[in-house]
Structure formats: C-alpha cells, structure tokens
C-alpha cells in the first residue's frame, strides 16, 4: 500500500537521481503501446465470440423443423398426421405448421417477393420447440418414417451446437491471449528494467553509499517504468479503439466478421488495459529492482 502511495506521490528530486535512459524508455513505451493495441483486438475478438456463442446458444433453445414433401392432395393429411404425432411425442413442447406467408418470407431473399408459392410444389414446414428434457431425435425420425413417410426432421440444433462450442472456445482463446499479452508485457518490462538497473549500477552504488534505503532506489525505478507502461498502454489502447470503431458495423449479411467490436458498456472494458499494464510494470520492475539490490551492499 505504501509502495502504491509513494508511486502516486511525485518526488521530483527522487526522480532526478536516476538519469533518464532513452533506449529503455522508448522500449517500454513501444512495448506497452503494442501490447495494449493487440490486447484491445483480443478483447474485441473475445467479446464478439461471446456474443456469437450467446446468439447461437439461444438459437439452440430447442427448435427444429420438419419438412413434409407429399402430393398436393395428401399434403394437409400428412401435416395433420405429423402434428398429431408431435402432440404425443415426449419432449416436444409445441409444434405448428408455417403458413404460406411465412414460407414466402423465408424464400424471399433468394427468389424475390413475387414468388407464386401456391403454384409451386413446395414442401410444408412444421416448426417444433423442444421441451426440457428434450425429445429423442432418432425415435422421432423412426415414428415419422412409419406414420408420415414424406416428413423429414431437420434437427438444426445438432449442427449449431458445435458452432456454439467453437465460438465459446474462441472467446476463451481471446481471454488467454490477453493473459499471454500481459505476461509478455511483464517479461519485456522486466528485461528493460534489468537493462536500466544494470546501466545504472554506479548510480545505485552511490545512492547506497550516501544512505539511500532500498525502497527509495526501487521507487525511483518503479515509478518511472510504471508511468511509461501506463502511457504506452494508453496510447496503444486509444489507437486500437479507434481502429475497432472504424470497422464496418455489424449486420445480418456480414455476420461474425463485421460484428468484431464493442457494444454499449463493452467500450469501457479496453480502458482497463492501461491500468493493468501499469500494475504489471509496477510488479515486474519492483521484483527486478529488489533482486538487483540484493546483490549490492
């Protein structure tokens, strides 16, 4: 707590005792900016994957379609038979036949609004909602085959589930990427801090000679690296957020790729990255500095 307090309290004289080191300063700034930039995109990917997983999962809330192909004069009989069959099938919460207007709406994106649905030998569609627990898909298929041979169960939940799982994994990968980026930032800042500490060993020896405590010396380095990491990450985050903001907006046709971005309060999440980079730099520099000082009298 004291370390954090001293970090926030500027001590110009203490800051001056360690000479500025251009190379490590630029390295820390650049690394933090680059890592924050990547982290924002990993976060955007993770959130977009999460939304996709949620969307597909909700679609999985248990719907299926039964497609009935039969001669026109038998169609109504077959539809009635299937609805009756579904009414007695355990695990089917509800079932209804789509009317012609709904079928036309489904086909409209491909064939246009003037499609003569009445004149075409189109199959009829029955939408069923799965109960909890669900129905036995294989058993239902067997019953349809026996009682309505022209009816085919299109169990689309079964192919959407792996996609939802894949989206969840993608979200997990995004989060793992952020953790790896934080780790890599810590490693880079540790290297930069070690380089700065080595370059300043004569300075550190003089400070010890005149009675400086370890905490004083560590503070001078930690404050410097933490502020550099914080500023670098802030720059990287802002640039990446601008990049995400100018991506094409999500729409139904674009699907996943155009949905890569933040929504609502999600825009606040990247703002956590600069403080996170600061915390990583604070810890990495502090550990490196105390380790270096341990070797000096």
């Amino acid at each position: 707590m004291n370390a954090l307090k001293s970090l926030l309290t500027p001590d110009r004289q203490a800051a001056r005792v360690v000479p500025p080191t251009g190379f490590t300063a630029q390295l820390t700034l650049f690394t933090s900016a680059a890592m924050a930039f990547l982290a924002v995109f990993a976060l955007a990917l993770s959130l977009a994957s999460g939304r996709l997983a949620d969307r597909w999962s909700s679609a999985l809330a248990g719907t299926a379609t039964i497609r009935i192909s039969a001669p026109a004069e038998q169609m109504d009989t077959q539809v009635a038979a299937v609805l009756a069959l579904l009414g007695t099938t355990p695990g089917v919460a509800s079932a209804r036949a789509l009317d012609q207007a709904e079928q036309r709406a489904l086909l409209e994106p491909w064939f246009g609004p003037d499609l003569p649905v009445d004149a075409l030998p189109l199959p009829r569609l029955i939408e069923l909602t799965e109960g909890n627990p669900g129905y036995d898909g294989e058993g239902l298929r067997q019953r349809l085959l026996a009682e309505a041979p022209g009816a085919v169960l299109d169990d689309h939940t079964r192919w959407r589930r792996p996609l939802a799982v894949a989206a969840s994994r993608l979200r997990l990968l995004g989060l793992v990427s952020i953790i790896l980026i934080a780790g890599a930032t810590g490693a880079m800042i540790t290297l930069a801090a070690n380089a700065a500490l080595s370059a300043n060993l004569p300075v550190i020896k003089v400070l010890r000679l005149v009675g400086a405590k370890d905490s004083y010396i560590v503070r001078a380095f930690v404050r410097r690296f933490t502020l550099r990491a914080l500023s670098g990450a802030a720059i990287g985050t802002v640039l990446a957020m601008i990049g995400v903001a100018i991506l094409p907006r999500a729409d139904d046709a674009g699907g996943f790729l155009t949905g890569l971005g933040f929504q609502g309060f999600g825009w606040l999440l990247p703002l956590l990255l600069p403080p996170l980079a600061g915390v990583v730099a604070f810890a990495a520099t502090r550990i490196a500095a105390f380790r270096t000082l341990k070797g000096l009298t």
């Binding site: 203490a14 000479p19 003089v206 005149v210 009675g211 405590k213 009298t297």
Partner: protein, 223 residues
Amino acid sequence: MIAFENVAYNYGGGELLSEVNLRLAPGSFHFLTGPSGSGKSTFLKLSYAELQPTAGRVTIFDREVRSLTRDDVAMTRRRVGVVHQDCQFLDHLPLAANVTLPLTVAGRNSDPRDLSDLLGWVGLGHLGDAKPPSLSGGERQRAALARAIIMGPDVILADEPTGNVDWEMSLRLLTLLVELNKMGKTILVATHDLNLIRQAKSQVAARVLRIKNRRIQLAGADL
C-alpha cells in the same frame, strides 16, 4: 564509534586483514597508511559496512555489522561521511544536487543558505550549478568532502582524498579535515602520503596506523 575486534577479511585469494583490533574514539583523528593493496580501502569498507568481516566483529555505533538489516546499513551510512579518491558523483546532476544527495535520499530538504555556507567553506561557492565532469580534481575532492559532511555525520572516512590533487590542494583538504576534527568529528584518513601525515601532526593530535603483514599497528616516530 567504530570498533574492530579480532577482525579478519578474506577476499578468497588469501587473507588481506588479520587479527585487527582497533577502536576509533569519538573526536579522534587517525591516519591509516600502508603500501598499495595492503588493505586500507578494505578497512574503510569494513568501517561503513560495505563489507562484512570473514572473522571477528565490527561494531559501528554499538551495533554489530552482521546484525544490521539493509535499512540499518543505510541509516548507519547517514552518520558516516565517506570521501572516496574517485569521489563517486552522479555526473548528470549539478554539483549542488550532488552535495545535497544525502539529504535528498533521506527525504530532507536542504536550506539554501546552509548549502551556500557549506560550498563557501570548501571554496566552491561559485560552482553549485557546475556538473562534476567539468570540475578539477581538487574541486571534486572538496565537493566530496562537502557531501560527506552535509548530514552532520559523527565519523568521516576518507580514502586517499589527496591522491589526485597537488600539494597545495592536499594541504587545503587537510585543513578542512582538521577543522572538522576540532568541531568534534571523528576522522580516519587512509593515505600513503607520508608528507601529508607529517604536516598534519603539526596541526592536530593524530594517531598514525600502519597496515603491515595484514595487521594494523601503531606507527612509530619513523614517519
């Protein structure tokens, strides 16, 4: 102030100091002499806890060096002013900031008038803004002395303070050290400059110690 009891120091390549017994009394003035490599600097480093003895006990202000934590060592060094032959300045800071460095690291502010008086006393009143690399050897040594005493230490240790300066400047530095001793400070000067020691003996009651065969002896009238 500082006491050595049967102290030995081994660098790994053999014993450098052995069976050292010495007590620096408050207000005393000591010279430590001996050939190069005899262990004068090692003795001084043991005196301000930069090194720990490999045998025996070193006590600084009544505390055994081995029992000191790193923070204790730092606090002890605020009471021991050290002047090195190479001065050890922070070259990126102006002279005034270097002189006040002990105050800065102790979190204390320096009074500009006190600093001005101190720099004036060592004859550097006009060089407060100069960077150390631009100073002459004598100016650097006097600045190092000013830094060593700015905290008002009880003991001042000087390692070959006149090693890089001419005779006139050596006498000037000696005068400053004698004045400090008259103010009650305990002084230990490691030097191989026997003329300086002879000159000092006419100004102050100094004991002269000599390192010979790894041991510290009181030097006789042969100096």
